[in-house]
Assembly symmetry: C2
Homo-oligomer: 326 residues x 2
Amino acid sequence: MTGDTGPTLGETGEWGLLAALHRRLPQGPGVEIGPGDDAAVVVAPDGRSVVTVDLLVDGVHFRRDWATPHDIGIRAAAASLADVAAMGARPTALVVGLAAPPDLPTAWALRLADGIRDEAATVGASLVGGDVSASSQLVLSVTALGDLQGRRAVTRAGAQVGDRVAVAGRLGWAAAGLAVLRRGFGSPRALVDAYRRPQPPYTAGVRAAAAGATAMCDVSDGLLADLGHLATASGVGVDIWAHRLDPAEPLLALAAAYGREPLPWMLTGGDDHALVATFPPDGSLPEGFRVVGAVVAREPDRAEEALVTVDGRLWAGSGTGHEHYR
Amino acid sequence: MTGDTGPTLGETGEWGLLAALHRRLPQGPGVEIGPGDDAAVVVAPDGRSVVTVDLLVDGVHFRRDWATPHDIGIRAAAASLADVAAMGARPTALVVGLAAPPDLPTAWALRLADGIRDEAATVGASLVGGDVSASSQLVLSVTALGDLQGRRAVTRAGAQVGDRVAVAGRLGWAAAGLAVLRRGFGSPRALVDAYRRPQPPYTAGVRAAAAGATAMCDVSDGLLADLGHLATASGVGVDIWAHRLDPAEPLLALAAAYGREPLPWMLTGGDDHALVATFPPDGSLPEGFRVVGAVVAREPDRAEEALVTVDGRLWAGSGTGHEHYR
């Protein structure tokens, strides 16, 4: 954001920045040693730690003129926390790396950390440490740890032919919000806010694991792309039923205004961090999940991008989702 | 390095790169779920995980024309593994974020991963996952997890007046090697190699913890700077005894050749990732540690940079160590 006043990182210095950060980071009960030492120490109650890292790069994953630093912090934390949830685990802690140019306002960096801290707090996780470095491009790395609470981790590899495919959380909202921002607008607010501050269904991951989900992943590349990863890992195919995707009112309204269909946003947008899981054919689904398709037999010799069909046919829309370098 | 042939990241694509990476990453016995899912699952035998992250930025922490990608991987892994060791823990796993430009040769990225994997393997740790993103500047984030094996973590905060200050590992070798590279030379090889492939005394961290070290940190900013952090956290002062630093033969030879003293490299260089720890006045030191000074009373109202003296006097050399943005 423009209009920041006060010192820059170059004026505050690394150690001044770290000291200011540490004062803003209350630590939860699962943290034995928090920020300020060579490393943090976090409890791992069942003797295992889930661990994942996500990068956010200025100009690639976010634009500083499209969101506040607090919002960017929320998005950054959400990406990693959702990965933990997608294993069926409860997030416990984050560590963050911030590479940033010396002319970045110190207040911007502190508000970014506030956003990460606040999003982590929504699931009871603490920001326990990090590293900062000078760089020309702003790059953020968020590592999340999680606690499986004694359960088996739900991987991408267990889906069985005949399983139901179910989604928790929003599909397409953030992608539609991004389409709005790309046209230079700031409303409809509900969609733009969905892009700026995603609301992943964190607790649905634990519920899915407890309910016997056979496979799960978060939707970060797009529903088709992520189900492609899941189908590959499981050795199956997936068929999505378009009528079950049921676009929400803001998506329908925006699609009408832009003279296009809402379905591509829902099939290829990833920034909402929905969870998609497969469940055995019988039994009730955990709260928050809705069926959107079924696991089908894998057709021989199909490439990953052809493992997922929509109403039995290959999707002919504009790409299957986000892949870096493509 | 120049001269790379073969496809670039832009040609291989994110998913092709990830698939190639996963094939090169054997997983150790402490890994329940390795690369390729939303997150990895690593054992935490005593119900706690040590966690730390370090960033390496192209042009700041390394130069691609000064080291091979395999060496840069070794240095990146060493920085985080040494932080785990400095808590008195055994490293178990790494996750890595790689933000890199699309024109980076894919082979370069794979050899970087090989270096990280190989350095982790020296301490029995596995590279269990990561994330890749497009960017204009190459930025690497390495998160390390560790196992305290039931011991109390050794923080920076426990040093007591009268404790001995002891160091394990090299001081000043990497800084001298960097001075050589900055002048455009590639030898003496021992020093340049020390910069390119540091040899942190990883196992000395566990030995120090088991022997009752009262405080410990790794030397990443420089001995004076890191002891300043330790002294601040412990509320003490530290006096270094210059005659105990005992420069090794390659440092003496280079200093003579360059017409300067070896001491500044040893007091302000950080890239060797030595460990510095404080021990009670009596008792034998663990293998690999040598006494270099003593913990003294903190003089009132002294700033952090004045908490560490050399032979009782403030160090008047060129700075106290590396601080980003300074």
